[in-house]
Amino acid sequence: MADAVETLIEELAKLPGIGRKTASRLTFYMLKQPREAASRLSEAILQVKDRIVFCETCANISEGPQCVYCRDPRRDDALICVVEEPSDIQVIERSATFRGRYHVLHGHLSPLDGVGPESLTVDRLLGRIQNGDVEEVILATNPDVDGEATALYLQRTLNPLGVRVTRIARGVPMGGSLEFLDELTVGEALTGRREL
């Protein structure tokens, strides 16, 4: 096979959820597309890398040092919602039930994957609470084994700081992932959060 084709297949196959078979199908699809389509795709990928950074405050994805939620003056500084991934913020925003700030952990505790609190943005969260006017921290990690352990860990770590710590209600069974829930369920879970 031509080297260029083989290279693209190899690169695509490195993406999560894409096997060699799918990678080769995508490659041959791109071969049949006009040059502009390929150019738009590669430009979009480069833009993501060049323009998107992580917010210095909450670690969300951002186009500048501060993300849109940290910049928004109408949001409530007293409330921080902690999520595992930036994509979780989109889900909560769609539910339109939350007007506070966010904090993105970039993962969850998982000893099996070598992920401890030091690999997450826990220290930065502690810093925000110590230096700000935060009154309540809502833990919105996934309602699965690892997300639950992460929430319990944060609760124990945050409690001595005198801040109110709540956990989103489990309107959903264990083993779920926030990403796949509808807005309604997420909205209910946020409204019905409980003290830990």
Binding site: P111, L112, G116, P117, V145, R156, T157, G175
Partner: protein, 374 residues
């Protein structure tokens, strides 16, 4: 509950066929490797929608075929009849009830009730405690959705906790305790369900054991749940007090857990004690006693299924008689009577199983024609 017709299509080495089944059942005679057990596997598929061998669905597809299909017509004691089918290709499995594909296999659960007795059951009695835990897990997973959900969650939390203990100490302090709540919450579902089912099995196990053993083992066959978590053996015990003693046990065992590098308390350390006259059969049982106990356990399970569903399950007896001495085999037959529809595999004809049981020959995957009555 009785099957009236069984249809097979590209299942393992069995030739595609539709068989009419008599209310009493059938004896399948053939030498090893001809496909007798595959027929039992097919019927078991109608009850549990997966293989009792623990293999993938694709492994049950006949060589060179793209899919398999098993269909059973079943009539309940009430006279109601249903058509259950399981089909699978290399990607998906479909379960259908009266021609309609069900959204989740659980929706068709219980349409066919079957209990398998197989030579491999001996490992439950003679093997380590993990074998008996796996037996309970299999039984409870297929009968309780709550248990089926809790078990993998418990196992995940346990593996995470053990990984922390293996690399002790962790970077941050309260990390270990973060896993405990899920461990206890899901573990409670497991131990309480095990306590309940063990209690329900125990009396039946003793009864059936006594009848199959006859005068030979006058000392009683006994089954008892011995949970690792203190106080969780009693099905009536209060959930909160069990959780509290569990928390305390985890705290107390922490120095030992750290030293050994894994969690030493919890249902993953439970024992289902199976004894004859106060002696553990796993260590002290003879082959005959262990086989009797294995049969008694499965038949107790069948009685339990019957009492919970009010349907008499179909019995699948995979080469059970050839390993039993004549006396035990005779008493087993007597106990079995004709309450259950039975499918029995055997390398040689079993004339004792006369009453209404047709004998089929299984030869290189072809079932039938009938043997002349022996």
């Amino acid at each position: 509950m009785r099957l009236t017709e069984v249809g097979l299509d590209h299942f393992r080495n069995l030739a595609s066929v539709t068989l009419e089944v008599s209310p009493a059942g059938a004896v399948l005679v053939g030498s090893n490797g001809q496909g007798k057990s595959n027929f039992l596997e097919a019927i078991h598929y109608l009850a549990r929608f997966r293989s009792f061998r623990g293999t993938r669905h694709a492994d049950s597809i006949a060589f060179g075929a793209q899919h398999f299909r098993v269909e059973g017509h079943v009539v309940c004691g009430t006279g109601q009849s249903r058509r259950v089918a399981v089909a699978a290709d290399r990607r998906t499995r479909r379960v259908s009830l009266d021609g309609q594909t069900v959204a989740r296999p659980a929706d068709a659960a219980g349409s066919v009730l079957a209990v398998l007795l197989a030579p491999t059951d001996l490992a439950i009695i003679g093997g380590g405690p993990d074998q008996r835990r796996r037996y309970l897990d299999g039984l409870l997973t297929s009968t309780s959705r709550r248990y089926a959900r809790a078990l993998p969650v418990y196992e995940r939390a346990l593996r995470q906790r053990n990984e922390l203990l293996r690399n002790w100490p962790p970077v941050a302090g309260p990390e270990l305790a973060s896993w405990d709540e899920t461990l206890i919450e899901t573990g409670m579902v497991i131990v309480l369900a095990r306590a309940v089912i063990a209690e329900r099995l125990a009396r039946r196990f003793t009864d059936v054991g006594a009848q199959v053993a006859g005068a030979v083992d006058r000392l009683g066959y006994e089954l008892e749940y011995r949970p690792s978590v203190p106080g969780s053996a009693d099905p009536a015990s209060n959930a909160e007090s069990v959780a509290a003693s569990w928390r305390q046990a985890l705290t107390e065992s922490q120095p030992r857990d750290q030293r050994q590098g894994w969690t030493t308390v919890g249902p993953h350390r439970d024992e289902l004690l199976i004894q004859l006259g106060g002696h553990r059969l796993a260590q002290f049982g003879s082959q005959g006693e262990q086989r009797t106990a294995a049969i008694a356990l499965r038949l107790a399970e069948a009685e339990l299924l019957e009492s919970e569903s009010e349907h008499v399950p179909v019995l699948l007896l995979d080469d059970v008689f050839s390993e039993l001495d004549e006396d035990r085999a005779g008493r087993l037959l007597k106990w079995l009577g004709d309450r259950h529809q039975k499918f029995v595999t055997t390398p040689r004809p079993l004339p004792q199983l006369g009453n209404g049981l047709v004998q089929w020959r299984v030869d290189d995957g072809r079932i039938g024609p009938r043997l002349a009555a022996a």
